[in-house]
Structure formats: structure tokens, C-alpha cells
């Protein structure tokens, strides 16, 4: 600070000296003019010239104005009769003085102004070229810390200080450390003490920058979020001129642009990679399903063939049948795992369309009847056609899984029923699958939707389950925005599974 003030003093002294010298030189020349008897008007012109020179070589308007006044007085003192006094014999000189003062005044201010303009233009040019250089460098930056390093370096150079820059990551959290300029060409990483506090401080900012104890922090705003913080020592920040401030803002602006651009390129690349990965995954799934299904069809077909060739009483028939049953079980396991993998990817795209409930239920029931023709399944649907937005194939699978469970736990002479009603108040369709079977054991109730959960309280002769059926149902219904629950019937023995589907058509159905 002290140095700075001294500098200002030096300037004032120097400019005063220049002014004095100019007037002295003008007076000297005037003296020579009078000696060789040039008309007085020439002396006035010489004074005017030197006032102009003063304005040219000093800064600001003040010296020019002072010079013009002093010039008039010296002219009066040295060159008007009576000489060496401030009094005048000829009153017409007052007009000369007045015109001289005014002319000197105007020319000096004009010169100062021109000079000021030239200075400003120079500054602007420097600003522009600095910005241009910065942008150029930023274009070549390969990552965010490169950008931070470039801005730190540039600003440190221009402001002649040790600036620092902190990037925020994609989730909007500050990174762990600053990049700080140590000296020209050397940067260090400095750890942030409390990133959460930092984030809070920057986000809550109402002014253009935040003033700390040692540093001032400028947030770098991107299109959507804060991208980083630029830190400049407080002493530099508080003594910045307006143009420097402007330059700083422009630089922060271009940094924000560069960071934004980098981010969006990164995002694009990421989504491209995701698409490729997704394709890879679905290809893999397809290959697996194909590669498992084909040999399974072979095993099932061949054992079916064997069963066909062998007499029913032959013990080999039983063996062939066991092969078939196991292959069938394996097949359902594969199918279940595949559909669960597809569903639980989290990226399951449900294409909802308005579907007739009767068709979906009918198809599911038909499916079960083909497998277990000994069962009677009743269907209760409203008289009016009920169209519900859904992915028909998936809801069919839910119904098949629920009915399959019902069949497994219900003797063939008891009733199984599927019904659907529209709840107009809640704007949902309520589906329920009920049976008169053994019901759900109390110990199983909380776990029925868990993956690979198979009840332990079951009679030994019943079919082996896979333990994925209900999990799949739950995933599908949740993806549809509905709810599913299972409980024992209150009115009689048996279990009841109820699921709901929202009735309103969502946007994705319209896009289809």
C-alpha cells in the first residue's frame, strides 16, 4: 500500500515539474521573441502551444487547466506593460487574456481527452487480446482441471497476483483441492478445508463475489449450475480498477463457457457410451436366451420323443418324464431370470397402450388352462369394455405368474378366479387373483415378494418353485406406477393377490 501511494506522489511531482518547465520554456521563447521584436501575438501562440504540450505529457485534465491559467498570468507578468507586475495599462489586454485562457483551456482539455481515449483504446485492446488468448488456450484444454489451470495462470499474469481456481464436479459438489499459482509457470494443489461450507457460501451468494479474510471468491456460473470458484487475494481484488474488474468478469465468463462446453461434450460421450453398452447388454441377453433355449428345446423335445416311444408301464418312461420335468423347470428358471434381468436393468421402457383388460386376462387364463387343463378358472370382468393403459405382455406375465402360484397351491377341484373392477374415484383398475388353496403361511407373508424366496412350510410332494415369480410381478407393477399386495382371504380359506394400475394415459403412450 505504501509503495503504491509513493508512486502516486512521484507522478504528481513529475507532472508539476513538466507543467512548470513548459511554462518556463514558453516564457523563455517569448523573451527571445520580444528581444528580436516579434509581435506579441506570437508570444500568445507560443504559450498556447506549450499549454497543449503540457496537456499532452501529463495525465488528467487538471494540469492542462492549471497550465492555461498560469500561462495567462506569466504572459501578463512578463510581457504586458508595466512589465513584472500583474497590473495592465491597456485594458484591451483583458480581452487577450480572456481569449488566451479560454483557448488554452479548450485545447488542453481536448488534448487530454484525446489522450484519455487513446489510453482507453489501448487498455481495451489489451483486454481483448488477453481474452482472445485465454479463449484460444481454453479451446485446447483437455479436461476441467486444465481449464482451471489456464484461467489461474492467465489471471495471475494479468492481475499480478496468486490466483486460484476450484472446480465443482458434475453433482455440484466442490472438488477437494484448489489449483493455485505459486509463481509464473508453477502451480500447486491446495486442499480445501471445508468443501461443504464453501459450497454453501458460494450458493448463498447475493453479490457478484464473496469477500473472505484473505481471499475474494468469484463463482463461475454455468448454464445450469455453479461450475467452480475463482479465488483472488483480497489486496489485489480490492484495488482492482474498473477495467480490470471488467476484464476479470469477461474471463470468468469465457471460463464458464469453456467448462460448460466441456461438460456437455462429456455428457454426450457418456450417453453414447451408455447406448453402446445398452446394445451390448441386450445382445448378450439375446444370445444367452437363445443359447439356453435352443438346447433346452432339444432336451425337452427329445425326452418328449422318448416318452412317445416308450410304453407307459416301462420304468424308462418315468426316467424320460423326469428329464422332461427338470428341463421344463430349468426353462422356467431361465425365462424368469431373463425377464427379471430385463426388468431390473432400471432402464425398462414400458410402452403403455390402451389395452382391453378382457384380452389380457383371457390370454393369461388361456395360457394356464393349456398347462393345467384340470383347473376351472372363473373370470369376472365389467360388462363395459375396460381399456387400461399398460404394457400388455408384461401384465399378462404378472397374471400368469399369479395364476401359476394359485394353481400350485390349490387342489384342482377348488375354484380360482380372476376379476377386475374400475375404481373411478381413485382412477385405478383393480385386478385380483383369488384361490381356495392352502393360503399363505403367516411366517411367509412378509417375504413373498423377495427374490428367490421359497416357502418352507410346504408339503413335500408339491412342485419345486423358482422363487422369482412374485418378484417379477412386483417389479412390473411398480414400473407401471401401480401397487401389488398379497394376503390371505378373510371370508374363506385361500390367498388373494391384488394389484392396481393407474387409469390415466401417461405421456409416453402418446409419444408412441
Amino acid at each position: 500500500m505504501v509503495i503504491f501511494r509513493n508512486k502516486e506522489h512521484i507522478y504528481i511531482v513529475r507532472y508539476m515539474l513538466i507543467t512548470t518547465c513548459m511554462i518556463a520554456v514558453a516564457t523563455g521563447i517569448g523573451w527571445i521573441f520580444r528581444y528580436i521584436a516579434f509581435p506579441e501575438t506570437n508570444i500568445v501562440i507560443v504559450y498556447l502551444l506549450f499549454v497543449l504540450m503540457t496537456a499532452r505529457f501529463t495525465r488528467g485534465y487538471a494540469y492542462g487547466i492549471v497550465a492555461s491559467v498560469i500561462a495567462t498570468f506569466t504572459f501578463n507578468y512578463f510581457f504586458t506593460k508595466p512589465y513584472f507586475t500583474f497590473s495592465v495599462n491597456d485594458p484591451t489586454y483583458f480581452i487577450t487574456f480572456a481569449i488566451m485562457t479560454v483557448t488554452a483551456f479548450i485545447t488542453s482539455t481536448l488534448t487530454s481527452k484525446a489522450k484519455q481515449n487513446a489510453l482507453e483504446a489501448q487498455e481495451k485492446e489489451a483486454e481483448t487480446s488477453a481474452l482472445f488468448q485465454l479463449t484460444n488456450q481454453l479451446t485446447d484444454a483437455a479436461n476441467l482441471s486444465d481449464i482451471a489451470s489456464i484461467i489461474t495462470d492467465t489471471i495471475s499474469g494479468i492481475m499480478n497476483c496468486r490466483a486460484a481456481c476450484l472446480c465443482f464436479d458434475e453433482s455440484g459438489q466442490p472438488e477437494q483441492s484448489f489449483i493455485q499459482q505459486q509463481c509464473a509457470g508453477k502451480q500447486v494443489w491446495r486442499k480445501v478445508d471445508d468443501t461443504a461450507e464453501m459450497k454453501h457460501r458460494i450458493e448463498g451468494l447475493r453479490t457478484a463475489f464473496d469477500v473472505g479474510d484473505e481471499f475474494c471468491d468469484w463463482p463461475i456460473y454455468g448454464r445450469e449450475a455453479i461450475l467452480g470458484v475463482l479465488r483472488i487475494p483480497k489486496e489485489t481484488a480490492t484495488t482492482m480498477s474498473e477495467s480490470q474488474m471488467r476484464l476479470l468478469h469477461s474471463m470468468i465468463e469465457s471460463t464458464a463457457l469453456a467448462m460448460d462446453r466441456f461438460r456437455s461434450t462429456q455428457k454426450q460421450q457418456k450417453s453414447r457410451e451408455e447406448v453402446i453398452q445398452e446394445r451390448y447388454r441386450s445382445n448378450l441377453l439375446r444370445a444367452i436366451s437363445h443359447d439356453l433355449r435352443t438346447p433346452l428345446s432339444g432336451i425337452m423335445g427329445t425326452s418328449e420323443m422318448l416318452m412317445d416311444m416308450i410304453d407307459l408301464n416301462d420304468p424308462r418312461y418315468f426316467l424320460a418324464k423326469e428329464i422332461y420335468k427338470d428341463a421344463d423347470w430349468l426353462h422356467s428358471l431361465v425365462e424368469n431370470i431373463l425377464s427379471l434381468t430385463r426388468l431390473q436393468d432400471g432402464r425398462l421402457t414400458i410402452t403403455k397402450q390402451l389395452e382391453a383388460v378382457e384380452e389380457v386376462i383371457g390370454s393369461a387364463v388361456n395360457h394356464i388352462m393349456k398347462r393345467s387343463p384340470e383347473y376351472e378358472i372363473t373370470i369376472n370382468i365389467p360388462e363395459e369394455v375396460l381399456l387400461v393403459p399398460m404394457d400388455a405382455k408384461l401384465i399378462e406375465q404378472v397374471l400368469v405368474n399369479l395364476l401359476d402360484n394359485a394353481v400350485k397351491h390349490t387342489p384342482s377341484d377348488r375354484e380360482i378366479s380372476v376379476s377386475v373392477i374400475e375404481d373411478k374415484i381413485k382412477n385405478i383398475a383393480v385386478f385380483s387373483v383369488t384361490d381356495q388353496g392352502c393360503g399363505i403361511a403367516a411366517s411367509d407373508l412378509p417375504h413373498i415378494f423377495q427374490m428367490f424366496y421359497i416357502t418352507h412350510s410346504r408339503q413335500a410332494d408339491s412342485q419345486r418353485g423358482v422363487g422369482l415369480g412374485l418378484t417379477i410381478c412386483e417389479v412390473i407393477i411398480k414400473a407401471h406406477g401401480g401397487t401389488i399386495e398379497g394376503h390371505n382371504r378373510a371370508d374363506e380359506q385361500g390367498a388373494e393377490f391384488v394389484f392396481t394400475l393407474p387409469m390415466e394415459v401417461q405421456n409416453n403412450a402418446e409419444q408412441e
Binding site: S289, G298, G301, M305, I379
Partner: protein, 232 residues
């Protein structure tokens, strides 16, 4: 074991399944040729007299879907797709490309034979359908000349749209018609793929011809793919 005249081409690269299908066809008295590649299938179709083709989609040289498209350029031979791909999109695509039916692996002997029977029945009708003015499935009969529909010999009142829909199914008895195809035939090309109107139309028709619309006997639903008029 009866002997049949139809000759079936089995395009399948998995020997197990090929054996299984061969065994079934032999049991039923069909004669058959087997081939493991798409290229081979095409050359046999050109050189031999084939009545039906059973086609696996996942072939080693190129995709079965291409075979369907190529064959449909010059032949109307019935194609039954037998594939491990179970996605509805693939099914619908195969059917729209010109396949007559689609069977997902693993399948049972009865399923395969049922599909083959449908195709064979169709094979003999194709020549004579134009002359036939009256077609029947079970108790459901349609008079294509007078544009009338009878259920158990009682005339049924149907709207013109419902009649068109039913007539479309009767022209393709036993065959799966994709939703897209039906919409194109009934509502025209510009209608897009909005299924809502078709679902409502179908529900209305079913309420007239089926005893229990949820357990249809005539027009069966193939969820995610389309509909089929039962042939039994």
C-alpha cells in the same frame, strides 16, 4: 401312420431340434428335407418341390428374417418360424415380413403339429377361396356374398366395421394377423398404430359372437402380437 403328400423343408442348425422335428414329421407321415443354413434353404427352395418351410431365425450364415423377405419376393409358400427369440417385436416383424406363423422355442409336439395342420388346411383353400362365398368356423358362419354373419344359424347383426374385421379373419383362418396389419386393412394406411380403436372394435365384436368375451372361442388374442381366428 398315414402317408402325406406334403413336403416340408426344415431349416434349423441345431441337430437336436432337427432330430426332434424330423421324428415328429415322420410320425405324422410327412416327407421332409433338412438344411442348416439360410443359403442352403434358398437353393433347395429353388430346386425342389417344397410345400411348407419351418424356419429358425438364428442361422449361422445370415438371419432368418432375410430368408423370409427373399422368399416372399417370388413365392407364397407357407413359412412357419420356429425361433428362440421371444420378443413381441421380433414376432410381429417376422409376421409382417410374410411369415405365416410363429412358434417360440421350446415348443411341444402338439403345438408344432397344430400349426402345421393350420397351414396345410390353408394351402388347400387358397385356390378355392375365391369361389367360396360362405365360410364357417364352428358355429360361426360368414356369407361373403350377402355380407351376413350367422351364429349357430341365427343371423347376427354386426356393424360394417365389425363385418370387415370378421371377413378379414375368415380370409385368414388360423393365421396370426398382427395388430399393425389389421389396422392397415381395416382403417387404412394413414391410421398409424393407434390400437385403441381396434381394441374397442374387437371387444364389441366379441360381445356379439362369443359366449364369454374373456374366454374367446373364435377370435383368440396373441398378446403383444395380434389376433388369430381359431380353426377348430
Amino acid at each position: 401312420m398315414q402317408n402325406r403328400n406334403e413336403r416340408i423343408l426344415i431349416v434349423e442348425d441345431d441337430p437336436q431340434i432337427r432330430n426332434f422335428i424330423c421324428y415328429l414329421l415322420k410320425q405324422e407321415g410327412f416327407s421332409y428335407i433338412t438344411v442348416g443354413t439360410a443359403q442352403g434353404a434358398l437353393s433347395i427352395l429353388v430346386s425342389e418341390q417344397i410345400d411348407i418351410m419351418l424356419l429358425d431365425l438364428g442361422l449361422p450364415d445370415f438371419d432368418g428374417m432375410e430368408v423370409i423377405k427373399k422368399v416372399r419376393e417370388w413365392s407364397e409358400i407357407p413359412i412357419i418360424v420356429v425361433s428362440a427369440r421371444d420378443q413381441d417385436k421380433e414376432k410381429a416383424l417376422a409376421l409382417d415380413s410374410g411369415a405365416d406363423d410363429y412358434l417360440t422355442k421350446p415348443f411341444s409336439a402338439t403345438e408344432l403339429m397344430a400349426r402345421i395342420r393350420v397351414v396345410i388346411r390353408h394351402l388347400y383353400k387358397v385356390g378355392g377361396t375365391k369361389q367360396l362365398t360362405s365360410l364357417a368356423v364352428g358355429g360361426l358362419r360368414i356369407d361373403l356374398d350377402k355380407r351376413l354373419v350367422y351364429l349357430d344359424n341365427v343371423e347376427l347383426h354386426v356393424t360394417p366395421m365389425e363385418y370387415n374385421l370378421l371377413a378379414l379373419f375368415f380370409r385368414n383362418i388360423g393365421k396370426v394377423l398382427t395388430t399393425r396389419y389389421i389396422i392397415k386393412e381395416i382403417y387404412g394406411v394413414g391410421y398409424g398404430t393407434d390400437t385403441q380403436a381396434l381394441r374397442t372394435l374387437m371387444a364389441g365384436l366379441r360381445r356379439k359372437i362369443e359366449k364369454d368375451p374373456a374366454k374367446p372361442r373364435y377370435i383368440l388374442t396373441e398378446i403383444g402380437v395380434g389376433y388369430r381366428l381359431s380353426d377348430e
